[in-house]
Symmetry: D2
Subunit: 414 residues, 4 copies
């Protein structure tokens, strides 16, 4: 047992956008869990299916990250409590010191090529006049420092920043060598902040998860790099609300041979994410991510639009309304409507912890490149054609069953 304890791994969880609502909720939740003040409700990996895999314990995560805003983490956490989490203040009081201590693991992020609205949110950052190679160097150095200072066995990097405008994918993004050259030659258009973050993380051997829709993060060249370096990566865009429900409901229509005529969705939200998405350029990335789900599941493209409206008073309580108009036997037109009222951060935060545990596990097992078994966590799962939620979840259960077997198999052989 003591033996076991000595071997206990220390895993770093580096959150890009650490001052955002989701990050604050991830950290508050982990600290509250550590002190026995909350449960694992909402965490997929808390299910008994995963018990035997030996995933890293949430208690053993060390948190760090970067952000373009300088607000102290404690204030971010307070804001998170106001806008979304209805946490008893006495719980908050007990984790105040944990939050304060985490501040030392936080540094400045980059807004390279992120679009005006994100750049305007930055607190006094020298926007864009740095060379790309220097930006990359800083990113790598920050990860190294985090690892060394905290004596970490390994680090998982998760991107939780605001949605960037879409990156136009060009030939250079498909070729690792070309891409590396562009970065060296300071070709500013080669990527956005998320591209640099992913590049740096993979070069440092850190598992990397893109929880945002920003398509600049996991470009083909970087997936190639991840495969070469033995780094597991996955994205894009955490599936937490309307799309989650959509991917669970659409297969029902398929299985009943009911024809979806129109699927119209309206998302209303009032947090910083909503403010950024109020800019049509940034919103475009998000909508692209949400729009293809239906077509992939149904095999045809019904009239379908997803709308995102910024409604400040809702704060973090995202409200989505969907109208599904469908045709049945003898041409009968019918409808299903749903209203989803969920706290964005409350829904996303536990999945971030899940992804960190599973990405760390994949790294331990020597997996490299994309992790398709994590498809159910994403709106646009890279390298996966399966969009039905239940089928995606079965992929994860199968992975866990296989990994569990091999795990024990390995132990028996030792």
């Amino acid at each position: 047992m003591n033996n076991n304890a000595e071997k206990k791994r220390k895993v770093g969880l580096w959150l890009i956008g650490v001052k955002g609502l989701i990050s604050a909720t991830v950290i508050i939740g982990a600290f509250a869990m550590r002190r026995g003040l909350t449960t694992t409700t909402g965490m997929v990996t808390a299910s008994s299916v995963f018990t035997d895999l030996g995933l890293v314990d949430v208690n053993d995560f060390i948190f760090g990250g970067c952000d373009i805003r300088r607000e102290p983490l404690l204030d971010c956490a307070r804001r998170a409590m106001k806008e979304g989490i209805t946490l008893d203040s006495f719980i908050f009081d007990k984790i105040t010191s944990d939050l304060e201590k985490t501040e030392e693991n936080i540094c400045a992020g980059t807004v390279h090529n992120c679009g005006d609205i994100i750049e305007n949110m930055a607190d006094g950052l020298p926007a864009g006049n740095k060379k790309l190679s220097d930006e990359l160097l800083t990113i790598r150095q920050n990860l190294k420092t985090f690892k060394e200072r905290n004596k970490l066995d390994s680090v998982v990097v998760i991107n939780l920043t605001s949605t960037e405008p879409p990156l136009t994918i060009k030939p250079c993004h498909h070729n690792l060598e070309e891409f590396a050259k562009c970065v060296k030659s300071n070709n500013a258009d080669v990527g956005r902040a998320s591209t640099l973050y992913a590049y740096g993380a993979i070069l440092e051997g850190c598992s990397y998860v893109n929880f945002t829709p920003s398509n600049g993060a996991l470009i083909p060249a970087l997936i190639e790099l991840a495969e070469q370096r033995g780094v597991p990566v996955m994205g894009n865009d955490g599936k937490t609300g309307e799309t989650l429900v959509k991917s669970a409901l659409a297969p029902m229509f398929l299985s009943r041979n009911l024809e979806i005529l129109s699927w119209e969705g309206v998302n209303m939200l009032g947090n910083m994410d909503g403010m950024v998405l109020n800019d049509p350029k940034n919103c475009e990335t998000k909508l692209k991510s949400k729009d293809k789900v239906l077509q992939k599941i149904m095999g045809y493209a019904p009239h379908s639009k997803v709308h995102i409206h910024y409604v400040p008073s809702l704060a973090d309580q995202k409200t989505a309304w969907d109208l599904i108009h469908f045709r049945g036997f003898l041409g009968g037109k019918m409808s299903l409507q749903f209203t989803w009222q969920g706290y964005d951060s409350i829904l996303a935060a536990p999945l971030v912890l899940d992804l960190a545990r599973l990405a760390d596990f994949a790294k331990q097992r020597g997996e490299a490149g994309l992790m398709p078994h994590l498809a159910n966590f994403f709106k646009s799962p890279l390298g996966v054609e399966e969009y039905r939620h239940e089928a995606q979840y079965e992929m994860l259960l199968d992975y866990a069953a296989n990994a569990g077997n091999k795990h024990y198999g390995g132990m028996i052989n030792e």
Copy 2:
């Protein structure tokens, strides 16, 4: 080819409750399809997955059945068009003669032990003074006549009557010999109309499907009999609306480890089904059938009630409203509401055709007793513990894949 045409099987579809809205829609739909006036939308077995099984063609069904009301089928069909189906009248005009011709295959049903509200709906039937064995004899004779007059290769019987009050299951229902004795000795409490119908059908070697919640139909003794006689049977309670959505949505909460606190459902409907369910005794059977779905899927019993309200003006357009109140990370309470507006008959009718095709297929293959692969069609699938809709559908797809293989395998051997 000609050879093949000669061998074309004629299959009878005997509908108990043939004057009801669902039956009328089944028959209208089949006739309209036969004349190329409508498509197969809404039929599960129209999916390409089932193409190679050689299921009986909808065009080859001969319709018949019994009912306690004497309204001509044509009038029932007109009523169906008014209350639910928004069929072009020119389509209706083209199938009028088909409907009239079907009348000759229709006879009187029984109201034995069905409760006051159903008995009051009967048109001049000698309620309940017949001996059980005589009732049974009549039922069998009706099926024989139907088969002979129409020179049918085989008959599928489907129960589409109004919901009866629940039957209290006693030892005699678990023992075929005991049960048979009770019928002979005219023990009125041994069953309800649905019990006699099922008994008669199985004795006549007809596949039997209970599309209603009435638990008196497929009692253990009759399932035993079906196994002995090589008759495939299945039930209970066609899954067409709220429960369909519930069984598709609940697994999503499970896969995300979100705790369902309350799932409150309100069903409003205005057709004859709604009128019958307005009687608390009959409604009890229905609610029992709907209530267990959630517990089976989640593994625990959230606060959950299903309410059924009779709202005449809605006619066949069932409107269900569900409120799902759930808890996520850090104890955050959130909600999902949905409103389902569907024409009951439009949703049920194609499933009745599916079940007839699949039950006939099972009979041809020599299957006997329960057909668990049909679980996804039912709210309370007999002999099945799987209530997640997608998983149930996978059971059907697996069955089709296996049956398809064997089918071709067999042909190769010939």
Copy 3:
């Protein structure tokens, strides 16, 4: 009595956009009513409050109008039945000849300056190369011919065309003389089709009602003209759905001193109106009309947006979803959501008949210029600051009470 019958007035109802869904429904409804095949449900003036005013009987309307499309009225009516009205076909059969006979009172309309999307809908009209004064002449001539051919005592003109892009109001629109000069000098920008229609109608002494949001119709100069010529006019934009509910609900929040934080509305529709509003230029006019209601009622401007989405499968069944987020005592945030599912034409058509009756009545009484007592029929009632629905309705009731008294007063004197 005979005397009375001889004096029975014949009133023409000239519908601009007579081939549209609303017009078709107006005419179908009036003819069905005339033949005793339907009731007055949905008509405001059918209430007993108006009985004694002696409004022109719906049976005494002669229908005519113009349109930019050449589809026969009978086909329009058939389309209306498919997309919206769920009329028994036997009713339709009985009024076929009435519809056919109305065709002789229908002529070509103008698309002058209506924007691309409307111009593209026109069937072979010589778009825009006519002089303004000639267009005006044609419009007047059409009205004259309609009146003479049918020996009408009086004609009411109602604009039911698609929404035009907004007209920028300039000094010349405020001055009748200036405006007349611009038309004479063929200054194309001085107005849109709706401006010419209104100008022509008023010059011909026809009461004029603008049921559309197009602000080009009742410009200040034309209201001045109407006052001079003794012609009653009113607009804009018939209040039939979401705005109706909004103007009924907002006062409730006011009376309870509950603070509306956000009122977000989404309108989905699939008819031609929806298609035209899918063009941002035309939609702008509509949204301007809808947006001010809330501010006028509450006295402050909550965050509020109205969105219009074109969803073809819905056809004429407009579906509106509104989210009202409000704050109460101790800062508690609460919400009210509503979903409105109404057939646009079914809701609008009876109001068109009401407005025709009341506009004719006002003309008979010698009223001139705006009719503020009709405020409750409009989203943007001209010359009225009262936007609360109930208060607007009281204005109408007061008018009816006063007009009724004077009416009898007059009769006693005779």
Copy 4:
């Protein structure tokens, strides 16, 4: 001015059911307002219309009351914060001492004839073995003590207890003398707890408001007594949620001559009120109160049922879903649905303060008996046939305008 300050009136607000959620919210709100920590949002009398009436300031209320539970008020307030009010804890901390001090004005209530479910909630009260005349004496003595100890100019009594089963109104309830005799002769069935409270309050000259649906409170005999003694009284059943919306929306259908076919309402709530209403006997009173609104407004009785479901997880966040199915022109069926999500106490509490201010004002002005101008506050306004919300609100505005005039008139004369 100083003179004025000296004369400042001290008004007692005696809450029956002072330990309930609504009472706690009333008191928390008043104390928070007094310390400038919250605004008057949600209070009707905060509107400028009432400014000049000189209503008693909320700051000048002294709170007291009785309850059948012994939980300290501070704990009730904490519970209120958990179940409904999302109050910043720092606000709560500042009013803790105020809450504690109020405890001295609180005494035990009675459960006389309240039904099992309410009696079971009582903490060790000697249930029912006291003589009626003794109960009455205690009630009067409590009010006297409250007044004397706090040197109050006047006391308003408001009933905020749980709903009692309906009281069958008999001849003795219509005759003050008869009623008084029954009480003296200890005829237990003559009334329920609410009857005794109202009797005691009126005898002590305290204005009395019945905010609950309990019909036992303001029986005809007691209204007669109120008239004799110059005591203003009013009830029944505070209008805070679904019925509020219904009384605002139904007139819209009336004004448009749209026929309501069905109005089906489902109320879900999880607080103690919900638990009590889960008992069919108590619920009956509530439903009677809610059900007549529609008929009174529309002039006919559409199919309409109101359902109340106890859903514990919702706590104080009442969720109501209503389906309004209506018929328009040409028989077209359409629908309006709404979902109301409001905190019951947050909505009710400010109205309680309003009613206290207005009841006190009426007493000052020498009004006696029913206060019909307060109709808009109640689901079942006593002595009022007007159920349309806006029209009821106009009644209040008219009263305020008249009272204001007389007020000033009076001052001019002095």
